[in-house]
């Protein structure tokens, strides 16, 4: 019991220290800056020069702690991982591209790439599709808000929690005994034999994808719903007067109008999919042909302790995220330009 109390106390102290340290840093560094390069009132001459110096230094004072953390925890590791991927399993000897060449020939890696591609095709498209359909339907009904809240709810649930929820849905009891998993209950209700869904190659990957689709649809729905609200009412009204039916309006007006948002939603979910780890780790740990890159990387890192191969797989994940990253940066820069 005492160690629990100690732990809670430790957390409380950490919060207090962190806040105090941050306040002290910003306050003291600003005070020092103003003191060193005083304002016109203090020094009289050279004040314009001092103003300029302060203007140059202050932004960096403001950004220093954040940049320090980003450098240590994100920028440096990215470079270091690339370096480690060129070293051997103990990170000592240089092996060139051997780890990558190994990966290309490795069954587990090939399987993972294939599965990741399947995930990339299926999950973003179905999440976005369902999200769009639910957004459109919900906006037309009085109880749409409640419906949206319920569909959105899985967003708050951890991947592991969601895995347990769905593992229960997929639960399998041998034929003849009563099925407590919903899916097998439906299947046996239709007179078909029950299946151990999680161990059924190819299909099992799809059952795992369902979990992520279930989580991400809420995200797509919220973003797309906001975009749909942004369509000018006159545009829709004009189409109605022209005699367009709801289906035509959906495909010919709504979708083109919110196309930009659909792309953003799609790419965001794509990035989630590329990093998906928890679901596979909790459900199958890559067994029965469900392996994906993130889980494979974890295995090489923490089960086999081969940092070279683990790093090489991480770099592959990074490379697959790279096009979207560049596209995001360009988009952000374009927005910056219009401000």
């Amino acid at each position: 019991m005492t160690d629990v109390l100690q732990q809670i106390l430790g957390a409380a102290v950490a919060v207090a220290v962190a806040l105090l340290a941050a306040v002290a840093y910003f306050w003291v560094s600003n005070w020092l800056l103003d003191k060193t390069f005083g304002t016109a009132a203090d020094t009289g001459t050279g004040s314009a020069r001092n103003d300029a110096i302060r203007g140059h230094i202050r932004p960096w004072l403001f950004m220093f702690p954040a940049l320090l953390f980003l450098s240590i925890y994100l920028v440096y590791p990215v470079i270091e991982t690339v370096r480690l991927s060129l070293l051997d399993n103990a990170s000592v000897g240089f092996v060139g591209l051997d780890n990558y060449i190994w990966a290309i020939g490795d069954d587990g890696f090939q399987r993972s790439v294939f599965n990741n591609i399947m995930w990339l095709i299926i999950v973003p498209s179905l999440s976005t599709g369902f999200g769009l359909v639910i957004a459109v339907l919900a906006d037309r009904l009085w109880w749409g808000q409640i419906a949206k809240s319920l569909v959105f709810m899985p967003m708050a649930i951890s991947f592991v929690g969601a895995s347990v929820i769905w593992k229960f849905v997929y639960d399998f009891r041998s034929e003849g005994s009563e099925q407590i998993g919903a899916l097998n209950a439906i299947v046996t209700g239709l007179g078909l034999p029950p299946q151990a869904w999680i161990t059924l190659p190819v299909w099992n990957s799809i059952f795992l994808m369902v979990i992520l689709i279930w989580i991400q649809t809420g995200f797509a729905m919220v973003i797309l719903s906001a975009a749909l609200r942004g369509i000018p009412e006159e545009t829709l009204e004009a189409a109605r007067i022209d005699g367009a039916n709801d289906v035509r309006i959906f495909f010919d007006i709504m979708i083109p109008q919110i196309w930009g948002t659909i792309v953003v939603v799609w790419t965001t979910i794509t990035i989630v999919v590329l990093k998906v780890f928890d679901i596979i780790f909790a459900m199958t740990n890559g067994q029965w042909d469900t392996e994906v890159l993130a889980n494979l990387m974890f295995k090489w890192m923490f089960v086999n302790f081969d940092y070279g191969r683990g790093s090489a797989i991480a770099v592959v994940i990074m490379l697959s995220v790279l096009p979207i990253m560049i596209w995001n940066i360009r988009r952000a820069n374009a927005e910056e330009g219009t401000r």
Binding site: Y73, V78, D139, F168, W214, I271, F277, D278, M297, N328
Partner: protein, 401 residues
């Protein structure tokens, strides 16, 4: 997402059909049905978990959660007592007991002496026994095996029966999972990780965001681009170098490994910073320019403007980020496993749940109640602060989880 009222005007067909009939048009009905179907599909798995976690564990193991309100029947067998258990009453020899054992609220429906004849007798009936005498079983499971001669058997005969279990809801599963399975400890661990990791990045990010939004300096565009880029960098890229670094530091201090709460707080802080800076910068940049500039004219320093004006005004964005960070850290598995490890006393809830999936994979009473404990805090945060969550989502939708 609630504020905009539905102002759409619907043209009503003018026809001879009565008003109420024309209002029920098939299109609208189809919309209702389709949405209802989707909503049920989306809520049904979570409902199953919640209901199951509250069910009696014996019932949970034999029937689907959708039958939770109906009475289930089980076929069971009990071995009766031996000659040693007999007592003498009024010149007769009797063996008494209860087929169900103590404290079970089953109801007997039928019983018999072999597996094939278990429906032979009803409660209150008597059956002749091979070891002599006859047995009478009541609906409560109480039985009396009465014989005129003394019992001599050394092995109790078996009684087969069908019993009804009335629906029963209980919090026992929660009590068990919280104490016996260590989920209570993991809950505290999760809080220990999450709260500092949510609070520490806020101030740091806010200062940086202010500089990026309202100060003019060289390389500003480059740093914004860096932050946007780092938003989507896979965590996998950070794990190995950081783990090596932590272990290196631990070696210097003579510790056995680098798995500490301090380590995971700082890691989560850094991993949350890109989103924090991005969200806050976008929000701060949207604050009215005139107000900021007039404050500058009046001689207020950047530091003063930030602390007295920008920080209070940015409350909604700070709230959005805090919710994101809280949910993300609470729900995280990967970072916790790498930087805190899989030791029993350091497992956070997600890690605990994974270990239960491995060790108690068929004990659904443990898994469902354990899972519900891990998701209840995020659900409360989510439903009470949904406004801020949605706002943050709309502002930061380039972030990739």
């Amino acid at each position: 997402m609630t504020d905009v009222a539905d102002t759409r005007v619907e043209a009503r067909p003018q026809s001879g059909i009565p008003e109420f009939l024309s209002r029920i048009n098939t299109g609208k009905l189809l919309t209702h049905a389709a949405l209802l179907f989707l909503v049920i599909l989306w809520t049904f798995p979570t409902a199953g978990l919640l209901i199951s976690s509250l069910r009696d564990k014996d019932q949970l193991a034999v029937s689907g959660w959708w039958t939770a309100l109906t009475t289930a029947t089980v076929q069971e067998v009990t071995r009766l007592g031996t000659a040693e258990d007999q007592i003498e009453e009024n010149g007769q020899f009797v063996i008494r007991g209860n087929l169900f054992g103590e404290g079970d609220n089953k109801t007997l429906q039928n019983f018999g002496l072999t597996a094939n004849t278990l429906a032979e007798a009803s409660p209150g009936d008597s059956l002749e026994m091979r070891d002599g005498g006859a047995i009478t079983v009541e609906a409560s499971g109480d039985f009396a095996w009465v014989s005129d001669t003394e019992f001599t058997h050394t092995r109790g005969p078996r009684v087969f029966y069908i019993a009804a279990i009335p629906p029963r809801f209980t919090l026992e599963n929660y009590a068990e999972v919280l104490s016996a399975n260590g989920v209570g400890r993991s809950f505290i661990n999760s809080l220990t990780v999450t709260i500092p990791a949510t609070i520490i990045p806020i101030l740091m990010a806010a200062f940086a965001a202010y500089a990026l939004a309202w100060m003019r300096f060289p390389f500003r565009g480059l740093i914004v681009a860096l932050v946007v880029g780092l938003l989507v960098v896979p965590l996998q890229m950070s794990l190995i170098p950081l783990l090596r670094m932590y272990n290196g530091i631990a070696n210097v201090f003579g510790a056995e490994d680098g798995k500490t709460y301090l380590g995971i707080w700082l890691a989560h802080t850094a991993f949350g910073l890109p989103l924090a800076i991005y969200l806050l910068r976008n929000y701060m940049a949207g604050l009215p320019k005139e107000v900021m500039e007039s404050a500058r004219m009046d001689g207020a320093s950047h530091f003063k403007i930030f602390t007295t004006m920008v920080l209070p005004l940015s409350f909604p964005a700070l709230a959005s980020f805090s919710i994101f960070q809280f949910l993300w850290v609470w729900n995280d598995l990967l970072v916790a496993m790498v930087f805190l490890g899989a030791q029993e006393d350091k497992l956070v809830l997600t890690g605990k749940l994974v270990s239960l999936l491995g060790s108690r994979g068929n004990n659904w009473e443990i898994l469902t109640s354990g899972a519900f404990i891990t998701i209840v805090v995020p659900l409360i945060v989510f439903f009470s602060l949904q406004r801020y969550f949605v706002r943050g989502l709309l502002a930061g939708s380039v972030k990739g989880g």
